[in-house]
């Protein structure tokens, strides 16, 4: 018997590397083993989060830091979300990833959706978490760009205890450079129209891999109506609403999120 799989199974500690994709250097966190799961982070930035360690038990979890964020380059060509979608098509080609379970949160969800309407050849499934990308009329959304750091955290999360902890965390001055870099790039990508592409909704029907929408029940940035709007636009997609969660259920309700995601992936595997 080979011992390698067992060893890889235990080795969920991630490795951070730098890779160059068509001249753009980006940071890449990768951990675990199994089928590739590409996670596209939200506007707040990348990091190895507890839910990723859970997923790494069964997946090769790949977490790139988007161009323009954190330790990655800010290339001259970066102007909009569509640029990032095409960048990640190159990324998939370069790493020669196949049967990828693509997961994106918020801004990362929007990139994932734009990628999937262009080309699903390397995808196995698509999961959007509290995703930007479309506009639903009449649904009030907070304007995150008019909020102070503290007000932003209060609007991102649902649990008061977590909110206080996150506020304390955000006050670390050594994080300021990255926070401001991430916010500057986010603004450039989403400012106008605010967090959506008026043409994306027309093409979501092209997505021909299983799709799942996981939403925090109390998301104030993209309220749950957005999950159901995406569901109508992506053929055959399903919705899971995670109770007691704001905009980031994978952080706030880690277990419920992992259960929902693994359940979806399992079901699709069984069906296939």
């Amino acid at each position: 018997m080979r011992i390698l799989p067992r060893r890889v199974f235990l080795m969920t500690e991630p490795a951070t590397t730098k890779i160059t994709v068509r001249g753009c250097n980006i940071a890449l966190i990768r951990g675990g083993a199994g089928r590739p799961l590409l996670f596209l982070h939200a506007g707040g930035g990348a990091g190895w989060l507890p839910f990723m360690a859970d997923l790494a038990a069964r997946h090769d979890v790949i977490v790139p830091e988007h161009p323009g964020f954190g330790g990655s380059d800010t290339p001259d060509w970066l102007d909009n979300i569509q640029d990032l979608a095409r960048f990640y098509l190159d990324f998939l080609d370069q790493l020669d990833l196949r049967n990828v379970d693509l997961v994106g949160s918020s801004l990362g969800g929007w990139i994932a959706a734009e990628l999937a309407v262009r080309n699903t050849q390397r995808l196995n499934s698509l999961t959007l978490i509290g995703s930007a990308g479309i506009h639903v009329p009449g649904v009030p959304q907070v304007d995150t760009f008019l909020l102070s750091d503290e007000q932003l955290i209060r609007n991102l999360f649902d649990d008061p205890k977590r909110i206080e902890a996150m506020i304390a965390e955000a006050k670390r001055p050594e994080l300021e450079d990255v926070i401001l870099k991430n916010r500057t790039t986010t603004a450039k990508l989403v400012w106008q129209p605010r967090s959506y592409d008026p043409h994306l909704h027309k093409w979501l029907r092209r997505i021909d891999v299983p799709a799942h929408l996981i939403w925090g029940a109390n998301d104030k940035l993209f309220p749950r109506d957005y999950a159901f709007a995406f569901q109508k636009l992506i053929p055959g997609s399903g919705v899971t609403i995670i109770p007691d969660s704001g905009h980031l259920p994978h952080i706030e309700q880690r277990q419920a999120f992992v259960t929902a995601l693994e359940g979806f992936l399992e079901k699709k595997r069984a069906a296939a």
Partner: protein, 387 residues
């Protein structure tokens, strides 16, 4: 020194408590509080003041552009400038300035300035600005493209004024098959370009290289002096000596019989301007991408926004000059020599200051201050004589 009467045209009937409660007079302060009857009266009151400035011998009148705010009722200054071209007989008419990145078609600005220049037979000064951060919230323009759009729009407008049309223009943000605006500007090659700024070093460098007049907005005189020195240094690097005529200080002056009376009268109105009409959260003033990250960090650390200032602070720091004729003359001469400017862009109306007090102030400035500075140049520095 030249004196321009700079008007912000505030909606001076605004409910200051309501602004305070809202946290700002910008973007989110509901226009339910705008009364068109009062607003119409104000437009005429302010235009009358501009015409008075002309009759009193001011060298120019200044308008500007701000959006969705009680701070100023000039989202588009063109109509007001158009009205003034026929009633202001001698003074220059400066728009300081049009916010270039906020329009999706900069040719409309080239056309508007050219029309005004023709109407005024060459008395227009064309100000170009990026607009303040709040404008990017109000107008749905991406602050991350502000610099690019400013620079592209500027180049397009200057080319539209100076190159015979039609020609094709293909930029990143603007694209035209035919650039061929009628009319062309009255002044040759084009109206003087002035660049107002809060003191960005890249803007100062660029203005000096282009030999555009630089105007420093609402700042302590020590900062003004530093920015103007930076301009002179940049001019030297660009191979010429800057004239004091290329430097304009945007200030507020209030004159009454005594220092005490002037301070007492100006206080509530100036404090309303800086603490209420100008107040906004940092996030509104500086959307991400509007400045580079280094400047943003500096400003966040200084927490410059939201700190209430008293009139005494403003006077002590030389942001404004308030006092008896003698005090105002002394300070203005001191500041002119310190900073080396030859144009004073003076708000004679500010905040909630009513019409009668504004007109009295304008008369006092015209009679007690202007004549003493008519032929005065900055002294004690190696400044080139005015051309």
């Amino acid at each position: 020194m030249k004196f321009f009467n700079f008007h912000l045209m505030p909606y001076r009937h605004a409910d200051l408590d309501a602004i305070e409660k809202n946290g700002s007079a910008w973007v989110t302060y509901s226009n339910r509080d705008y009364d068109p009857k009062k607003g119409a009266e104000l437009y005429h009151e302010y235009l009358d003041q501009m015409e008075l400035a002309d009759r009193l011998g001011f060298d120019g009148v200044c308008l500007n552009e701000h959006h969705q705010t009680a701070y100023g009722m000039m989202p588009t200054p063109g109509p007001l400038a158009g009205a003034l071209t026929r009633s202001v007989k001698k003074a220059k008419i400066a728009i300081l300035g049009r916010a270039l990145p906020l329009v999706n078609n900069p040719l409309v600005i080239a056309e508007e300035y050219a029309m005004l220049d023709n109407l005024s037979r060459g008395r227009i000064i064309a100000g170009f600005v990026r607009g303040i951060g709040a404008e990017y919230h109000a107008m749905g323009i991406n602050p991350g493209f502000s610099q690019e759009r400013f620079s592209e729009a500027h180049d397009l407008i200057i080319r539209a004024w100076t190159e015979p049309g039609p020609f094709q223009y293909a930029g990143k943000h603007y694209h035209f098959n035919y650039v061929n605006p009628w009319p062309r500007p009255y002044q040759m090659p084009h109206p003087p370009v002035w660049i107002p700024s809060q003191g960005s070093s890249s803007t100062i460098k660029w203005a000096a290289q282009m030999r555009y007049t630089y105007a420093q907005t609402l700042s302590p005189i020590a900062v003004v002096a530093r920015m103007f020195q930076m301009y002179r240094d940049e001019a030297e690097k660009a191979g010429y000596q800057a004239s004091p005529d290329q430097l304009a200080w945007s200030n507020t002056i209030y004159v009454a019989e005594t220092d005490e009376k002037a301070m007492r009268e100006a206080r509530p109105h100036l404090e309303a301007l800086v603490n209420t009409f100008l107040k906004m959260p940092t996030e509104m003033l500086l959307p991400p991408g509007y400045t580079n990250i280094e400047s943003l960090k500096r400003i966040r650390a200084a927490k410059i926004t939201g700190k209430p200032q008293t009139l005494d602070d403003l006077v002590r720091n030389g942001v404004v000059i308030v006092g008896s004729p003698n005090t105002v003359r002394e300070k203005l001469a001191e500041y002119q020599d310190l900073a080396g400017f030859n144009t004073s862009l003076t708000k004679t109306q500010f905040g909630t200051l009513p019409d009668d007090m504004t007109r009295a102030n304008m008369h006092a400035i015209a009679e007690e201050i202007l004549p003493h500075f008519r032929n005065r140049l900055p002294q004690g520095k190696k400044q080139a004589a005015a051309e």
